[in-house]
């Protein structure tokens, strides 16, 4: 630490976990703390006295210099957010990615009265940024999944309603012929009981009834295929309907 050029009042700032640099009204670096030495690999002795925009040309943009000048005139502190600017003083992380920074500039009274320097304070928010980005991605995934589920539930409900309508329609197709067959067979039994019967007529009548029973069988087989085809969750209302119909 002795080789680092911080002395006097600024010495304590070498121990802070934030990058700190002080520039004078001509943008010359007056102070460069140990954290910035480590982040940028530039020793304080190499950069002190140098114009910061020469070392970091991206700071020459008017949108940056105008705001720095505001601080150098003793104006209010300014912040450069990481989301808009990413960083003011570029430096790399050990993995080679750029270090994302939240930067604050505050005016610091210079040695002469009315003259201000600007203290640039850089906070490393790379980890925070990574975590927030991951959180947003997870939130988006969950939101998308939720939307998918809501959509799937709506589709399932529509399918169930269609199935219910289909089952009711199928059941009515079965119930009516079954009632007819029952009535016809009761008629045949009455005729037999009364002794008023001719074998040929009975035979024809029974063949008609067999045809109707076949149609009922086909309807029931179709119903079984529909329910067996992944639509086994028959709504309770339909179950009651089937029970009522015996």
């Amino acid at each position: 630490m002795a080789t680092r050029g911080s002395a006097g009042a600024w010495q304590g700032m070498d121990f802070l976990p934030v990058g700190i640099c002080i520039i004078d009204p001509e943008f010359r670096v007056c102070y460069w703390n140990a954290c910035l030495e480590e982040w940028t690999g530039i020793p304080a002795a190499d950069i002190q006295g140098e114009e910061i925009t020469v070392r970091f040309p991206s700071l020459k943009r008017s949108v940056i210099t105008e705001r720095i000048n505001h601080v150098l005139q003793g104006g209010a502190p300014i912040v450069f957010s990481s989301q808009i600017h990413h960083y003011l003083i570029p430096s790399c992380l050990p993995d080679g990615k750029m270090r994302i920074q939240h930067t604050t500039l505050v005016p610091v009274a210079g040695e002469e009265e009315g003259i201000y320097n600007a203290m640039i304070i850089c906070e490393d928010v790379s980890t925070l940024t990574r975590e927030v980005v991951a959180y947003r991605a997870a939130k988006n995934d969950l939101t998308n999944e939720l939307e998918e589920r809501i959509k799937a539930e709506k589709e399932l409900k529509a399918t169930q309603e269609a199935l219910l309508a289909y089952l009711i329609e199928s059941a009515s197709r079965v119930v009516h012929p079954a009632e007819t067959v029952r009535a016809d067979l009761e008629g045949i039994i009455s005729d037999l009981d009364a002794g008023d019967w001719r074998p040929e007529e009975i035979r024809m009548q029974l063949q008609v009834e067999i045809g109707m029973i076949r149609a009922i069988e086909e309807n029931l087989a179709e119903l079984i295929r529909a329910t067996a085809g992944g639509r086994q969750d028959i709504p309770e209302s339909f179950r009651k309907f089937l029970l009522n119909k015996g």
């Binding site: 949108v63 104006g75 502190p77 912040v79 808009i84 927030v132 947003r136 939130k139």
Partner: protein
């Protein structure tokens, strides 16, 4: 305390100049088309702040504030309903999200937007005052207006210059409030300086 309508107009003009500068700066930084308007300005008591339309009730407000002290002492805050603040940030940064949250990164961005905005307004007022004012860095607070007003260091009967503000960014329209809470005497300092500039 009643304020002469001409004085109020003069303060509104100063705020508008500052807001215009802030809009130009924001446009340059974000490459968005941002328009700012200050349609109304009035003076209320600090204890009336929680009854301001859009800020009253139990809802939390997203606030960026900067304190200043010296011969002119107070706090300037830019206050938004949180949903509006998140919508403003996403519009400025060009993010595409249906229901944006005001997370840590967006809070930081809002702080920069508020910082530019407040500095514009304070710079404009500072030019009239003609003396050095000392400022703190911007801070972000999210709480009910009642709690924000209660935790300031000011007395409840101190005055607040309240300016409604409209941000138009791309296709969205976000309304916020600039509240400048002034310590007793500071409003008089400002009014005296305005009178001096006008040559009264």
């Amino acid at each position: 305390m009643t304020i002469d309508p001409d004085d109020l107009d003069a303060i509104k003009e100063l705020v508008n100049i500052g807001v215009g500068r802030a809009a130009a700066m924001l446009n340059e930084i974000t490459c968005s088309h941002i328009t700012l308007q200050v349609p109304t300005l009035h003076v209320i008591g600090l204890d009336e702040l929680d009854r301001v339309e859009g800020l009253s009730g139990p809802q939390r407000a997203a606030t960026v504030k900067i304190d200043f002290r010296g011969f002119f002492t107070g706090t300037t805050a830019l206050i938004f309903p949180p949903g509006s603040a998140a919508a403003l940030v996403t519009a400025i940064t060009g993010e595409e999200e249906d229901l944006p949250e005001l997370d840590a990164l967006r809070t930081e961005t809002l702080m920069e937007v508020g910082n530019i905005f407040i500095n514009g307004v304070m710079g404009s007022i500072g030019n009239v005052l003609g003396q050095q004012i000392t400022y703190t860095p911007p801070t972000y607070v999210e709480d009910t207006i009642t709690n924000i007003a209660r935790t300031t260091r000011f007395d409840p009967d101190e005055r607040v210059l309240l300016a409604n503000t409209r941000f138009f960014v791309e296709e969205i329209n976000v309304e916020g409030v600039i509240a400048m809470i002034l310590e007793i005497g500071s409003l008089d300092v400002l009014l005296d300086r305005i009178a001096a500039v006008r040559g009264d």
